[in-house]
Symmetry: C2
């Protein structure tokens, strides 16, 4: 598997395949054809075959896909076959909401600590996870084998924090700050820009309104 050859569009679809396969397992479905999977997921069967062929196929002519096997293989591709230790930097509403989200833990993403600069939050905890001060960050990352740092801090603080995290050895940043981070090539960033998402919704809404006006 070489990450360079696989398009961003395919990568974005992988978690969705994994989610649908998980739902099939919950329903006790053991095998599925690409046509059936296609109907459920609302993508074409040929798209599914193409996507999965990027990783070596997994399907069997006349049988379809073995759901459990495909789910497990997809899990491996997504790095879900091992534990990822995480921290959350910024213990405001959003940071605390993420810390409370147990679904991440079920997928192997373990939130080991929360951090903040507000001394009033020091020593408090969310779902048993302690809120620590930024001064403790470096030691904590090294002692707890932290791979992923989640940034839920204001955008004007995010750049400096990212630099610090890279220096401390963090290899993956899950960025909720509303800014694009500049990091070295060997550090991966995944952005959740909530305002951008809301604007996309607003754009789609405006387009529908314009179309409806035309029809009237």
């Amino acid at each position: 598997m070489d990450s360079k050859e696989i398009s961003q569009a395919v990568i974005k679809r992988l978690p969705r395949y994994h989610r649908y396969l998980g739902e099939l397992i919950e329903k006790g479905i053991e095998r599925i054809s690409s046509n059936e999977l296609s109907t459920r997921m609302r993508v074409t069967a040929s798209q599914i075959r193409q996507d999965l062929n990027n990783f070596g196929g997994f399907g069997q002519q006349g049988y379809g896909y073995n759901v459990k096997f495909l789910y497990s293989e997809m899990g491996k591709i997504l790095g879900l076959d091992r534990q990822h230790n995480m921290i959350i930097i910024g213990s405001g509403n959003l940071g605390q909401a993420l810390a409370n989200y147990v679904a991440f833990e079920k997928k192997g993403f373990i939130i080991k600590g929360l951090f903040d600069i507000n001394p009033r939050l020091e020593g408090l905890s969310v779902r048993g996870i302690q809120i620590m001060m930024i001064e403790e960050l470096e030691d904590f990352i090294k002692e707890n084998n932290i791979e992923i740092a989640t940034l839920t801090i204001p955008k004007d603080k995010a750049g400096d924090m990212a630099d610090m995290l890279v220096k401390y050895g963090i290899k993956a940043i899950w960025n909720f700050a509303h800014v694009d981070l500049q990091v070295p090539d060997d550090v991966v960033v995944e952005n959740v820009h909530l305002s951008d998402s809301l604007m996309t919704l607003s754009y789609k809404l405006s387009c529908y309104e314009i179309e409806n006006q035309k029809k009237m």
Copy 2:
């Protein structure tokens, strides 16, 4: 402007243009060439020109782009030139975090009310926004001219809620529930699937690790 002709990839980039232009305005920059904008945004200048040509161009040969004008035109395209009334359904951690996020209001997205099924939350408020019970939803939507409903509820409740919202006249759903909603064609949905995003990060991280192992 016809939404049908513009690709999803372009649409996804629009809020990012808007954000960068807003930052330029804050810095007092009045005009910018597509080359300069390209360097800042890390997309090619020809990509920028192509993207903006979808909406009629805006650039002037030898002058570049007038930042304020382009920002304002992008705002119109994104539907930011008017107010959008929103509600949040699900007043747990994430719902409250979103209600506390004042940046949305600055862009014209006004959160008018929060809803929940937990009677213990009834009458409480977040940043002055009241938490109401689901029974009040229908009247509230109609009386307050609500366009956008944000779903921060568990996935097993999200489908029924979406059906209800559509019945009550909601035209846009900002969906944080970890499920793909089935809605009529004239209702727009924008998903924020946090688990999918975290898995994408994990996938990228795994790829880098595999590459690094190869180099060793």
